[in-house]
């Protein structure tokens, strides 16, 4: 009986997934509130405002599944956002965007070199890289917001396509693309193998260094892509948006069920984790909760969910 329960995929998801029950609780709870939560406008708006964090999470998931993590994405986000605006007068809009993305890929390459090739501790080295890039962003803008002069630039993120916001469509496409990459390609499967057991993966003939390195390069690239989308959404580049973004996104990925131990999780889980954060923000706004209490609740939710995750792992250790 227990076995059949265990093998039931739905029960499996509910025990591994902390974000999904949390989302369901919010969805059911909002049924009883007299707010405009259940309107297409609000639901789309919620997706739209979570989209940047979701895109960041797709890249970070690759590194976490491979047994690393990437805390430099906040820095990459702001610097590439600023570059995509600052380079516009020099070379035009599209080349500037391309340069910003190449910049992100390069930083990812350096992260990969330090973490994978030189085998340094990923979270502290990427934290340092994030700090460095924040300084670069402040230097580039003199710590002032930098507006874009090209009106088309703003329309990339703020435009709509058959009533759907562009950002939501871009996020959806990237979601499908990265989920396919993780699940159906050799690269994705190798990442799970590397995160599960690095040495075993190496001895089974996987080019571990190249594969894990590529995960960091892609994470840098997606962070840069998100950076230019954020600049386009706000029509400004600024150094301040990156401060807590990296921690929030990595946290959201873990909350979704992608474990820091590596080898477990995936893109859909990360999407759920970040959506849970986005929905919490939206619900708290709908219920007119003051901003300080919102910060408090968000912190408490982060602690509670990571606590549950660790506790489950402890139970598993003790069961063995």
């Amino acid at each position: 009986m227990v076995l059949t329960l265990r093998s039931n995929p739905l029960v499996g998801i509910l025990t591994k997934q902390k974000a999904l029950p949390f989302i369901l609780v919010m969805l059911v709870g909002m049924l009883f509130s007299k707010t405009r939560f259940y309107t297409p406008y609000n639901l789309l708006d919620m997706l739209n405002s979570s989209s940047i964090l979701l895109i960041l999470a797709f890249g970070v998931t690759l590194t976490i599944v491979a047994g690393g993590c990437d805390l430099s994405i906040g820095g990459i986000l702001v610097v590439s956002g600023i570059l995509s605006i600052k380079l516009q007068p020099v070379m035009g809009m599209w080349p500037a965007i391309l340069c910003a993305i190449v910049f992100g890929l390069l930083i990812g390459f350096v992260n990969g070199f330090l973490v994978v090739h030189q085998k340094t501790e990923p979270f502290i080295i990427t934290l340092g890289m994030g700090l460095l890039l924040t300084g670069v962003a402040q230097q580039l803008t003199d710590a002032h917001p930098l507006p874009s002069q090209i009106s088309d630039f703003m329309m990339i993120s703020n435009g709509t396509f058959y009533g759907l916001p562009n950002l939501v469509i871009i996020t959806l496409v990237l979601f499908l693309l990265s989920a396919w990459l993780m699940r159906y390609t050799q690269f994705g499967r190798n990442l799970y193998a590397i995160g599960g057991d690095y040495e075993v993966a190496r001895y089974s003939g996987i080019n571990v260094i190249r594969t894990k390195w590529l995960a960091f390069v892609l994470s840098g690239g997606t962070a840069a892509f998100a950076g230019f989308l954020l600049s386009s959404k706000l029509n400004t580049g600024s150094a301040i948006y990156g401060d807590l973004t990296a921690l929030v996104v990595n946290c959201g990925v873990v909350v979704g069920g992608t474990s820091f131990a590596g080898g477990i999780g995936g893109i859909p889980q990360s999407a759920l984790g970040l959506l849970a954060f986005g929905m919490l923000d939206n619900v708290m706004n709908m219920l007119d909760i003051t901003s300080y209490i919102q910060i408090l609740l968000k912190g408490a939710v982060i602690v509670a969910i990571i606590w549950l995750d660790s506790f489950a792992q402890k139970r598993k250790r003790e069961a063995i």
Binding site: G128, L131, G135, Y292, G299, W307
Partner: protein, 325 residues
């Protein structure tokens, strides 16, 4: 023969460079800046340098024990925010000495709460501790915002005696500032705790290998409570020194302290893997950061590029530390 001896000396020079790289770097910085900018060695600047041994070193000393114990604490920023706004308002309500004691107690209590959260979940890895303390930091910062309604509190709003805090902030004994003396006293205490007590050794063994430490009978749960409580307490000391010096307390006063404290500890040579390190190394790490920003200030480098330099040094120090192993 002489070739071997030469190689031997070369190797020992390389070994010396590697183990005392920080000392070499500090010496190079001092000599280099003194040549380019003679004002560097002026009495004014030296007193100024001594004043810099303020809040950051206090927080970094506490963080040293957490990292030595194999964990990490991102909540110090939140603790500083909370302790600063609560303590400054308590001066008005209960007087300065009780306010000081209560402020330190809040810091220690926050640290103890962190350890309770970590212990009850059974988290053993640095990554789990990282995110839990990040969440706790958010909670403490939110409490600080709620308590102060988001406003900044000033010394001049307090009409009770605040001489104690003014002494901590700006007092001097001869040419030596009081905050520097507090730092020396705390450093001596913590150094004795680290080297002469069983608890200090237990912390290092816990950091080295938690499971092995538990098997040989070390109470790792107690070590975890001690390191986080100590870190919270030292963050409280840092908060009090900080707001006494700038005579105001805003609920966002502690932002960035967690990264800078970790930076100082790691640059000083305490490895993140846990198990080794020393408060003295952290002092060297802080000294390097202070000297660097002082030199860059004297040379007229923009503060933004100084952040870049800090990040680069952090990345470089960790990379170097890793190569040593």
């Amino acid at each position: 023969m002489s070739g071997i001896a030469k190689e031997g000396t070369l190797r020992s020079v390389a070994d010396f460079m590697r183990s005392y790289l920080l000392v070499v770097l500090i010496a190079a910085l001092v000599i280099g800046t003194a040549i380019f900018e003679p004002r560097f060695l002026s009495g004014m600047n030296l007193i100024n340098l001594m004043r810099q041994f303020g809040p950051l070193i206090m927080v970094a000393l506490g963080m040293t024990f957490v990292i030595m114990g194999g964990f990490i604490d991102l909540s110090v920023a939140g603790i500083i925010n909370l302790v600063a706004v609560v303590t400054i308002s308590l001066i008005q309500i209960v007087g300065q000495v009780p306010a000081l004691i209560l402020g330190l107690a809040i810091g220690a209590a926050c640290g103890a709460l962190n350890s309770a959260v970590i212990l009850s979940s059974g988290a053993l890895t640095q990554a789990e501790a990282l995110f839990m303390t990040f969440g706790m930091s958010t909670v403490y910062s939110a409490l600080a915002l709620l308590y102060s309604h988001g406003s900044t509190m000033h010394f001049w709003d307090i009409n009770k005696s605040k001489s104690l805090f003014q002494a901590i902030g700006a007092g001097k004994v001869g040419p030596v500032s009081i905050s520097f003396l507090i730092f020396l006293a705390l450093l001596a205490l913590l150094w004795l705790f680290q080297t002469k007590t069983t608890e200090g050794r237990a912390i290092r063994l816990t950091g080295g290998n938690k499971i092995a430490a538990e098997l040989v009978g070390i109470r790792i749960r107690r070590s975890i409570v001690v390191i986080y409580t100590l870190c919270g307490l030292m963050a409280g000391v840092g908060a009090i020194v900080l707001f006494s010096r700038i005579t105001t307390a805003a609920p966002v006063i502690g932002a960035g302290f967690e990264t800078n404290a970790i930076l100082a500890v790691v640059v000083g040579g305490t490895t993140l893997k846990g198990g080794n390190g020393s408060v003295l190394r952290t002092v060297m790490g802080v000294l390097l950061i202070i000297l660097m920003s002082n030199c860059l200030n004297l040379l007229g480098v923009s503060p933004y590029l100084q952040v870049v330099a800090k990040g680069a040094i952090l990345v470089f120090a960790i990379w170097l530390d890793n190569r040593k192993q």
